[in-house]
């Protein structure tokens, strides 16, 4: 059975795919579908519970939570994609070099990976963001810079198992350059596992972004993000449950979507791994 056939048969993976496509559509169309301006302050309508006018209620400044959450979907997706893209790029390059060449370069890179894995990652991210100043770009860069280690190990393992295969030897025999062998011959064979890691990585990045924003050092108000709406939820925890409930549900559903998709791709690309 081919990849697509396997994938189409996997209802959970299709559900994940649908969730993500839906979120991407919502983010792209955000300006058209929000019922209110997400920044519009309405002091007569502060902390209003969910109603027909405001589906998810309003926050401490009377802003419509539903509109802010739609806007927040953009932030989550952006952070997820860019941070993971960076991590995949670093991880793939280091892993490919490490696995292909071996020797002292491999030891050096692997020791560096060991060092990075010793940090309580969240501590490191927190420290760097706090010193660089919280901004959405800094968050994406720092999350990317602290989450490439898994990709490196994975790509390295793939390269080690592939580099002595016959098709690689053949390429070497006809005089292909190292770069050509790495990118044209070996990398495509490692693509499926990279794609799986990337999909699961986006979910992880979204979780970290929301935690940082929740702690007040991620996306800064007035820009809405799911994490910083939850901060308002904590500040008004005894009176406004809706501020705490809905953004968290959005994060949960998004992360479930990416995880379902990631596992679907894995099962479809390598049925042996299916659990």
């Amino acid at each position: 059975m081919g990849f697509w056939e396997m994938f189409y048969k996997n209802k959970l993976a299709l559900t994940g795919c649908a969730i993500i496509l839906f979120l991407i559509a919502v983010s792209l169309l955000a300006p058209l579908i929000v019922p209110y301006d997400p920044g519009a302050i309405d002091l007569k309508n502060v902390l209003a519970p969910p109603s027909g006018d405001h589906w998810f209620g309003t926050d401490q400044l009377g802003r419509d939570v539903f509109s802010r959450m739609i806007w927040g979907a953009r932030i989550s997706l952006l952070v997820g994609f860019v941070a993971t893209g960076l991590a995949i790029f670093i991880g793939t390059v280091l892993g490919a070099v490490s696995g292909y060449y071996g020797g002292w370069i491999d030891s050096l890179i692997m020791r560096f990976v060991d060092i990075m894995l010793c940090f309580p990652t969240f501590f490191l991210i927190l420290a760097v963001i706090a010193f660089l100043g919280p901004s959405i770009w800094n968050i994406m860069i720092v999350i990317g810079l602290t989450s490439w280690m898994g990709v490196t190990r994975l790509v390295r393992a793939d390269f080690i198992s592939l580099r002595e295969r016959d098709f690689v030897r053949a390429a070497r025999a006809i005089g292909a350059s190292d770069a050509r062998i790495i990118f044209i011959h070996i990398l495509p064979n490692a693509l499926a596992s990279i794609l799986v890691t990337a999909t699961l990585g986006i979910a992880g990045a979204i979780l970290i972004e929301s935690a940082l924003s929740f702690l007040g050092i991620g996306v800064q108000p007035p820009t809405p993000s799911w994490g910083n709406i939850l901060t308002a939820g904590k500040d008004n925890i005894d009176i406004a449950w809706w501020l705490s409930l809905y953004p968290g549900l959005a994060i949960l559903i998004t992360v479930v979507g990416y995880n379902l998709l990631g596992e679907g791709i894995r099962d479809a690309s390598d049925p042996r791994l299916k659990r």
């Binding site: 020791r111 940090f119 490191l124 010193f131 935690a211 925890i237 968290g248 994060i251 479930v256």
Partner: protein, 324 residues
């Protein structure tokens, strides 16, 4: 065994040095200075005073000189003096907060083992049963739940709606007036939510891993042998299979320590627990370099110790590791 341990410990030293180098340089290359906090708010602060502050903290020297002097102090067991207004030694500030963080992390590790291992084993033994399917859904959602959100929901439900559990701090206001037993109960009540939240993140991963391991072990030849010689199913599963399936989990628990410690920032901030995570958050906000460095170092040391204990117990449990 002793040789193995010594080798491992010696191997930790270059790792730790690498860690300190990365921390130190990342922190000092960042724009902005810790003295800004003290001088920007103060209109009386002159340029000269700023310079005096900078030289007091040795921030005017080149970065490698600063690192070397930090390292020399570390050699004497001195983590430096906090930049914050109390100017206390960093080591004291960390030590008074470390126990509570370690206790909470330790309790959550115990909970993770006590809950996740049985879930994993039962799911594997009764593969595709209703229990297995329910647990699979639970695990899947467990992976995706932002723990700080779960903390908020539990605070709302158990703390505010039901009023069963306190939602912040470690002690009630009337702690002083309680009997010893009352104080203990009070502390336990304050710890329930933080420990649960801290453990929650690990539950999903470990139980899933345990299930996968168990499934693999059950298919091995020696399990077939055990069944063939007529042992009861109970003995086969709990004596032969479980022991072998548990081994890799030990390593995973060791690897999950940085995540647990990192998570302490979140739950200690949410529940206002005076632990190391909260101190880290406050120090980072105040650009208190020495304290941040100290905590990053302690976090890394705890991680390495966790890994060491995991590897050592693995070596004790599995003779094959010791030979190689």
């Amino acid at each position: 065994m002793l040789k193995y341990l010594i080798k491992r410990i010696l191997f930790m030293i270059p790792l730790l040095l690498g860690i300190t180098v990365i921390c130190f340089f990342v922190m000092h290359l960042a724009p902005g200075k810790p003295t800004d906090m003290q001088t920007q708010m103060n209109p009386k602060a002159s340029a000269e005073m700023k310079e005096r502050l900078m030289s007091l903290y040795e921030l005017d020297k080149p970065i490698h000189v600063q690192y070397w002097s930090w390292l020399k102090k570390l050699g004497r067991g001195d983590l430096g003096t906090s930049f914050s207004s109390d100017h206390r030694p960093v080591a004291d500030k960390i030590l008074e907060r470390l126990p509570i963080t370690i206790i909470i992390n330790f309790l959550s590790l115990i909970i993770i083992i006590a809950v996740a291992v049985p879930i994993g084993v039962l799911s594997a033994v009764h593969q595709d049963s209703l229990f297995d399917k329910v647990m699979a859904v639970f695990v899947f959602i467990g992976f995706a739940v932002p723990t700080f959100w779960l903390a908020l929901l539990m605070m709302i439900f158990f703390g505010i709606q039901l009023g069963w559990l306190p939602i912040s701090g470690l002690r009630s206001l009337n702690y002083e007036y309680l009997s010893t037993w009352g104080q203990f109960v009070d502390l336990v009540k304050h710890l329930i939510l933080p420990v649960f939240i801290s453990a929650f993140g690990g539950l999903a991963g470990i139980s899933r891993y345990m299930r996968a391991n168990m499934l693999e072990v059950i298919r091995q030849d020696y399990i077939l042998t055990a069944r063939a010689k007529g042992l009861s199913e109970r003995q086969v599963i709990y004596k032969h299979a479980l022991r072998n399936a548990l081994l890799p989990v030990i390593t995973l628990l060791g690897l999950s320590i940085p995540g647990l410690i990192g998570g302490s920032v979140i739950f200690e901030t949410i529940f206002a627990i005076p632990g190391m995570g909260q101190l880290f958050y406050m120090s980072v906000m105040a650009r208190d370099y020495p304290t941040v460095m100290g905590i990053l170092l302690i976090g890394a040391v705890l991680t390495l110790i966790g890994n060491l204990i995991a590897d050592a117990s693995y070596a004790v449990a599995d003779p094959r590791i010791r030979i190689s």
